[in-house]
Amino acid sequence: MATKKLNLKDKYRLLTRDLDWEFSYQDRKEAFPYEEFEGIKITDWSKWEDPFRLTMDSYWKYQAEKEKKLYAILDAFSQNNGQTNISDPRYVNALKIFLTGVSPLEYQAYQGFAQTGREFGGIGARVACQMQSIDELRHVQTQIHAMSHYNKFFDGFQEFSHQHDRIWYLSVPKSFFNDARAAGPFEFMVAIGFSFEYVLTNLLFVPFMSGAAYNGDMATVTFGFSAQSDEARHMTLGLEVIKFLLEQHEDNVPIVQKWIDKWFWRGTRLLTIVAMMMDYMLPNKVMSWKEAWEVYFEEAGGALFKDLARYGIRMPKYAETIEKEKEHISHQAWWTFYTHGHATGFHTWVPSDEELDWLSEKYPDTFDKYYRPRWEMAKEMEAKGERFYTKALPQLCTVCQIPMLFTEMDDPTQTCYRSSDYEENKYHFCSDGCKDIFDDEPEKYVQSWLPVHQIFQGNCGGPDVEDILRDYYRINVGTDNMDMKGSPDELRWKEWKGTA
């Protein structure tokens, strides 16, 4: 008998929907105990639509093909000493941030989707979460693999996992995911599946990865785009969850809106570091942070929210503040890292004159007025042998855990500072957005593990900053940190290029 090929819809139905079963002797509510705990109302899981209709057999087939392509390129990259073909050794510092700050999030996403998938009563959503969970595990593995090659030739990669749990600036991405994973399953999906995957990861994995290619880093662009090829599916899942929740019950609308407000704000804060990587750490420029933001947030996000308006969903709160921030945050962040460059696991530097000119051109309304004079001053100080490092430890925002580096957007000379009192204590925030998030769930955020507080409480060794950096953070002091100029990374590069 000739076998008849099933069409996509039938195949999806048979290999996904039909894998589910009825609960005859167990209480369904006990099997899915978290489904109602956030106040979300689901009336009919069968209304779930998966637009990609990917079944497990095809999933394995295509993922295997992606891996084969990726590993062939990684092999070629290392066999041909690809690290010597990058544009400039300063670029590698962006990869150090990636491995210590982003790759561990892939691992958290793997765990989060495995758990969330388990908690959904609907089979379609469960299967999609399972695939995403396996994807995310693939992402962390391929990233570690790709960067293990750089680890052979550059400093600062060796303790990424240890450092992710400890270093002051790495608590920003870590706590972001911890917050999402400590929420219920639907908030997790709105946080990571929708806000993060649909809109925000694009900014890291698309323009930044294109920039990696432009800087000669074949390994990174390849793992980046390979990961991102799964991302299209993740984005679609995120959007599907939102539409499903909004269609299931009108009572879900205000809950979803509150989560969107919270997670878009948290997400834009988290992306500050990507802004800085794009504007300051890619020697060959593809586009500015501001331009990338306009394409992937304002245009793509704007289209999305216009589409969701039919459900009564509006743009995330503080969209007006967010719009102004694109002119400032990359400069404010790189200045903060530059002045704390003795306490970072990567190198920092004053941009070259050519780079300063590029920034002036890309940020005509803000750079010359507020930021260029600082860099000119830093350059002069460095020329006099007085490269500036601050002595102080920064105050951190209790919610996003970023140092208080942001200014009022209408007055970029004034640090933005908010606070709330809760049970005898005062808590500090970088913005109205972060303060709102705290005020809504103070009992959650009073538990934040804030790296600077931990240092002052004596929980990170010491007593001196250098002891903490060396023993608690496992930074090779004098090798991994400080200015790019005179670093072992720079020296090695000059030897390869015969310019030492």
């Binding site: 069409n7 990609f52 295509y62 093909e65 294109s210 290619a213 090829s229 984005m235 289209a303 216009k306």
Partner: protein, 88 residues
């Protein structure tokens, strides 16, 4: 009307997929960036299996698109013969 978009890795297969997209959606804008190709259109974009097969000169499954896909924007509908993107 908002723009839908799709971005593909710049490689030998994508080249033909882009040709097919341009043929089936005459108004698209194609933007070349390092290592990637971004294609945008007002409101709607379709990738048709038949056209891609014609350009490639071989059989092509719509789900093979995942191998070269970087990102997309719009409501997705994936079927046997085509993948479409729309915004309301």
């Amino acid at each position: 009307m908002s723009k839908v978009y799709i971005a593909l890795q710049d490689n030998d297969v994508s080249r033909y997929i882009v040709e097919a997209i341009e043929e089936d959606n005459p108004d698209v804008t194609v933007i070349h960036m390092p290592a990637m190709i971004r294609i945008e259109n007002e409101g709607f974009l379709v990738v048709k299996r038949e056209t891609v097969e014609e350009k490639l000169g071989r059989e092509w499954d719509v789900q093979e698109l995942h191998l070269n896909l970087i990102t997309l924007g719009g409501n997705v509908d994936e079927e046997d013969d085509q993948l479409s993107l729309t915004w309301n």
